[in-house]
């Protein structure tokens, strides 16, 4: 059993901001093909703001819920765009999912991932197969839950989530977008990975590195 405290969650967000910053240009290029080329900028801006906001917190004085809500607000106010409301809702829902906990155990991490995926679905009103970040987040959350139910370790749970996210993002290449800005392209979106799904893989990969 692992127990993740607020310092552990801060490490997770620090890992995400490093990974997204490193991935910024690739995400902009992916977005340039079927969107408006700013996805990497928005994501880097958002997670950079989260990193700075968390650095200003007294981690010993707060619970995971407060940290996650701070992440949500700082991401939203720095970004706007589509990713702002989507990730802010994801973090607010994850905050609610672990309310009252001082530390997170494996089941809480899984609940957090599931709440994030559900929050993104609800806010974006998107489902699987519509060529959005849901196509990475939803399978990742499901794979995490299945691995946990099978008695796997946290490392194995997050490995499963990451692998499922990668497969999900890859699958968006064969989808025609029906949500988001690329939905006006119709068949011209075929063959290209959805940038939101691509960045979700990066985020989940960094979460794995930060938590496991």
């Amino acid at each position: 059993m692992t127990a993740i405290d607020t310092a552990g969650l801060k490490t997770m967000f620090d890992e995400i901001s490093v990974a997204i910053e490193a991935d910024r240009d690739r995400l902009c290029q992916l977005d340039g093909v079927i969107g408006d080329a700013d996805h990497g900028i928005a994501m880097a801006l958002g997670f950079g703001a989260v990193r700075d906001a968390l650095a200003a917190l007294d981690l010993s004085a707060i619970e995971p819920t407060a940290l996650l809500n701070t992440a949500a607000k700082s991401f939203l106010n720095a970004v706007g765009a589509s990713s702002g409301p989507l990730y802010a809702t994801a973090f607010m829902r994850s905050a609610a999912a672990v309310k009252g906990k001082a530390v997170l155990e494996d089941a809480d991490v899984v609940a957090m991932l599931q709440a994030m995926a559900q929050g993104i679905r609800d806010r974006g009103k998107a489902d699987i197969g519509e060529k959005t970040m849901v196509d990475a987040w939803q399978p990742a959350a499901e794979a995490a839950a299945a691995a946990h139910a099978a008695g796997k370790t946290l490392t194995e749970i997050l490995d499963a989530a990451f692998a499922a996210a990668e497969r999900g993002a890859e699958a968006t290449k064969d989808m025609i977008a029906s949500k988001g800005r690329s939905s006006r392209l119709g068949e011209r979106s075929l063959g290209h990975m959805d940038p939101g799904a691509a960045s979700a893989v990066t985020v989940i990969g960094a979460m794995r590195k930060g938590l496991a």
Binding site: D25, D36, A37, I41, A42, A81, G84, P85, R123
Partner: protein, 335 residues
Amino acid sequence: MQTKKIINDGSRSVDEMLEGILAAHPRHLKSAAGSPRSIIARDGPRRGKVGLVIGGGSGHEPTFLGFVGKGLADAAAIGNVFASPPPNPILECAKAVNGGAGVLFMYGNYAGDVMNFDMAAEMAAMDDIEVRTVLSTDDVASAPRDQRHKRRGVAGNFFIFKAAGAACDRMLSFDECERIARKANDHTFTMGVALSPCSLPQTRRPNFEIGPDEMEIGMGIHGEPGIARGKLSTADEITDEMLDKILDEMAPARGDKVAVLVNSLGSTPLMELYIMNRRVKRMLDDIGVSIHATWVGNYCTSLEMAGASVTLMHLDGELQTMLDHPCDCAMFRAG
């Protein structure tokens, strides 16, 4: 290779632009206290008047904040380049212009804008401000006719906001302002063509690739791919192709009136816009449609993108009255 821009720090460009705009237009504009990305009209918001809040990403100037002023929008919420503003600056706009008669949110139909403005509307409701939303969906190229609600809002925003702003300024009821705003959108049709890309200040890389002899019909104002890419043709051929699509949907009868907007996406000069407008006039003359008013210039840009759009608003007496209603904004005056 990086594109050339007169900037300092790409991540500060929006805030530095706003500082320059407020310095240039102190008689028209101010920012809300504690919310520098909420730009409020000095004159206009008042008790009993429906407040009009517009907004969206930066990079389209003079859309959105250039249309803030007496007789048009009461406030604009400013996002990063090509990115919706977050809910907070939108909410601050709503609070600043709330005259107790309701607040209308109007903006282009993009997923990000819808999520952020909807969150702001929920927050405004908690402050007892009633918000209604009218999305602009004038871009004919962005979805089929039977899916008008999925279309993007582009340069036609200018006409749509103008009509709604006039309705609000004439102290009409919330219901009437909303009805006129929706009607203005339903009567407005835009088609664009892009010749060369723009680049974001933060990346300074072209945001799409296009051959030296190519054009893209229907490209969005953020460089989103359009409906067809072809060889660059003549001004008359391009204008015909765009107007054919618009007129096919608008289906005007002989003797009907329209307003015309020939808009530059950024770097296409007035010379080329007027050459296009010449053709617009000839085509409309040919089918017996009369032009009530024409605007030519930079109204809804896409940074330094080369290209242009043509917008027609199909007028009736009411919409004509709204377009003729005086307004005095930082970057636009009428009447």
